[in-house]
């Protein structure tokens, strides 16, 4: 069975998640998307524990992170990923409503690979999500599994 690497979308708002999925559907990449509804669930997925204990091993091709989420927020998830040798190579894209300088600065300081502000206008939103999905899910070459540049 050929393994299609999934896209992890951490988004607490079900409507935003649905809209994002609708956008990705247009380019037939929606089936690759795994949706987590808060930061804790996203971490469970990444560490294959809790509800995801039985999932197929391997890192997602990209993580889309909302900033403001219940339990564990986006910045916390980002910090955990970038401090873990195994998770570090995963590209992380912040996908958020906030344009606040503080959020931008903190995200990049923690090692985010990109920062995208969700546009209010649906067509722009759809374009943004689509392009992100295509770039990170299709165009961008992900790091090889189990790679550790420090070794």
């Amino acid at each position: 069975m050929t393994t299609v690497k999934p896209i992890l979308l951490a988004e607490d708002n079900p409507r935003d998640a649905e809209l994002a999925l609708a956008a990705m559907e247009e380019h037939h990449i929606a089936d690759k998307v795994v949706v987590c509804h808060d930061g804790a669930e996203a971490l469970d997925y990444l560490y294959c524990r809790g509800n995801f204990a039985t999932r197929q091993q391997g890192n997602p091709v990209v993580v889309f992170l909302d900033l403001k989420m219940p339990k564990v927020d986006g910045l916390e998830v980002l910090r955990t990923i970038k401090n873990d040798v195994n998770l570090k190579p995963i590209p992380v894209v912040m996908l958020t409503s906030s344009r606040e300088e503080r959020d931008l600065a903190q995200s990049y300081a923690l090692g985010a690979n990109a920062y995208v502000v969700k546009p209010v206008e649906f067509h722009q939103f759809i374009t943004a999500v689509k392009e992100l999905g295509i770039f990170w899910g299709v165009i961008n070459e992900p790091p090889p599994e189990g790679s550790d540049p420090i070794k």
Binding site: R15, S97, E100, V120, F122
Partner: protein, 494 residues
């Protein structure tokens, strides 16, 4: 739709009056009476006056003490002289007595050894007299007695010399009558009388002087005591003044700190609020637009034109509100953001802004009149926003005109301040609404005439106020508008 008719409580008061700060915000305490002038003095002036008085007191006390001490020293010198004089007179008297009794013994016995004291007197008398003249040269009364004394002594010694000579030549018999009473009995008595006068006069002067010294000493002590008390009182007042001032300052500092903390808390709250607006308020709008689009896609074929227009309106309204929120966030950020202070070349800044607006300028025929602008002191990004908003406005409200004219220039009426204006020949405005121009969400035109959220000029005013300047405008319907703002000039130009 016409927001002009809406009255908002937050509407700023007229531009001019708002910009002029209250010149004397602190109420000055009104006091009457002779001390009124003192209460108007600043604390520094009062302390200085206090120290001045202390200093003046020290100078006066020092001068008087110096004078009194000089008198005491002089008196003590004169006292020494008086005592010497009295002593000298005693010695002279004794010597003359000894000479007199010696010469009488010689007259009786003819034994020359009795003439020893006489000869000593004769020998030493000029010295004694010179000394006497020296001791009396400062008192005219005593000085007047000296020649008489000299004469008497000369006569005594002369008479005695004559008697001794007769004894030598003619023997005892010749001087027999003199041997018992002495040759100069009368003179010696005169000398003793004069010496008593001398003595009592000197004692009198001495007593007077002692009394004067004692008085002077007493004065000095009283003055020093009084001066010390006065200085203490003055220093205590100055200390009280300083202490009062320091306490007051400390109180004000504590109060300022408390208010600063309150302000900081309020600012944090505002930041949290605007963050929440930025993040949470936009999400539902995104959903409205998103689901409207999804609905239109899912059921677009089945919908009639009317229903499709409704969907479009839902979508447009959501977008408009999104724009409003974005503008409001920029407005809020302009108020909170830290400000830079650098020298800015406004000519260069306007060029950059026009470059940024080049897309809006396409297809427009505009006659620009650009006057040279001064260098000002301020935040480049913020002032860029000011010109961007004003020039965009000028372009927007001239869009309906066949020929667009925009003029940018400056006038410098006040020292250290530049007044910059942006003038257009657009639709203008009625001066009765001038107070609403710079308010948040205030619009003078219907949205279907000119688009916009009503934040631009509010932002201009906020930025200019943060730079310490003023904003105002002039205009008339269909005759264009002129927007003015003042800014502090760059320091090198002042």
């Amino acid at each position: 739709m016409e927001s002009v008719t809406q009255e908002r409580p937050s509407t700023p008061v007229p531009i001019r009056s708002e910009a002029v700060p209250d010149s004397n915000p602190e109420p000055t305490p009104k006091t009457s009476g002779p001390m009124a002038w003192f209460t108007h003095w600043s604390i520094e002036r009062r302390v200085l006056a206090g120290f001045g008085l202390v200093f003046a007191g020290i100078v006066v006390i020092s001068a008087v003490s110096y004078r009194n001490t000089a008198v005491l020293i002089e008196n003590s010198r004169l006292d020494t002289k008086s005592h010497e004089l009295i002593q000298l007179l005693g010695s002279v008297g004794e010597a003359l007595d000894a000479a007199e009794s010696g010469h009488r013994r010689y007259l009786v016995t003819g034994d020359e050894s009795y003439l020893k004291s006489y000869r000593t007197v004769v020998e030493q008398m000029p010295e004694y007299l010179r000394y006497l003249r020296g001791l009396t040269n400062e008192g005219p009364e005593q000085q007047a007695r000296v020649p008489t004394l000299e004469q008497l002594i000369a006569r005594q010694l002369g008479a005695e010399a004559e008697a001794i000579a007769q004894r030598k030549e003619h023997g005892y018999e010749a001087v027999r009558h003199l041997a018992l009473s002495g040759a100069a009995k009368k003179e010696l008595e005169g000398i003793h009388r004069l010496m008593t006068e001398f003595d009592s006069a000197e004692q009198r002067v001495l007593h007077a002087r002692v009394a004067q010294s004692a008085g002077s000493m007493k004065n000095t002590i009283v003055l020093l005591g009084l001066g010390a008390v006065l200085q203490l009182i003055l220093l205590a007042s100055v200390y009280f003044l300083i202490h009062h001032d320091v306490t007051e300052r400390r109180r004000v500092a504590t109060e300022l700190q408390r208010r600063g903390e309150l302000l900081e808390a309020a600012n944090k709250e505002l930041e949290a609020f605007s963050y929440s607006v930025s993040h949470d308020l936009r999400a539902p709008l995104r959903h409205i637009d998103g689901y409207a689009a999804l609905l239109s896609k899912a059921a677009g074929e089945a919908l009639n034109d009317k229903a499709r227009r409704y969907l479009q309106t839902i979508s447009d309204s959501a977008k408009q509100m999104g724009q409003l929120i974005d503008d409001l966030l920029v407005f809020s950020r302009m108020g909170r953001q830290d400000m830079l202070r650098t020298t800015i070349n406004l000519d260069q800044l306007v060029k950059t802004v026009l470059h940024d607006l080049r897309l809006d300028l396409q297809g427009r025929t505009i006659s620009w009149t650009m006057h040279p602008l001064p260098n000002v002191s301020g935040d480049p990004a913020m002032l860029r926003q000011v010109f961007l908003n004003l020039i965009s406005n000028a372009l927007k409200f001239t869009a309906t005109k066949a020929e667009t004219k925009i003029e940018i220039g400056s006038v410098s009426r006040n020292f250290g301040e530049a007044e910059v204006f942006v003038r257009d020949n657009g639709v203008g405005f009625d001066m009765q609404y001038v107070n609403k121009l710079f308010g948040v969400f205030q619009r003078l035109h219907r949205t279907d005439e000119f688009e916009g959220t009503g934040i631009g000029l509010a932002n201009v005013r906020r930025i200019i106020h943060r730079h310490g300047g003023r904003t105002w405008a002039e205009g008339a319907p269909n005759q264009g508008a002129t927007f003015y703002f003042s800014l502090p000039l760059a320091r090198s130009l002042r």
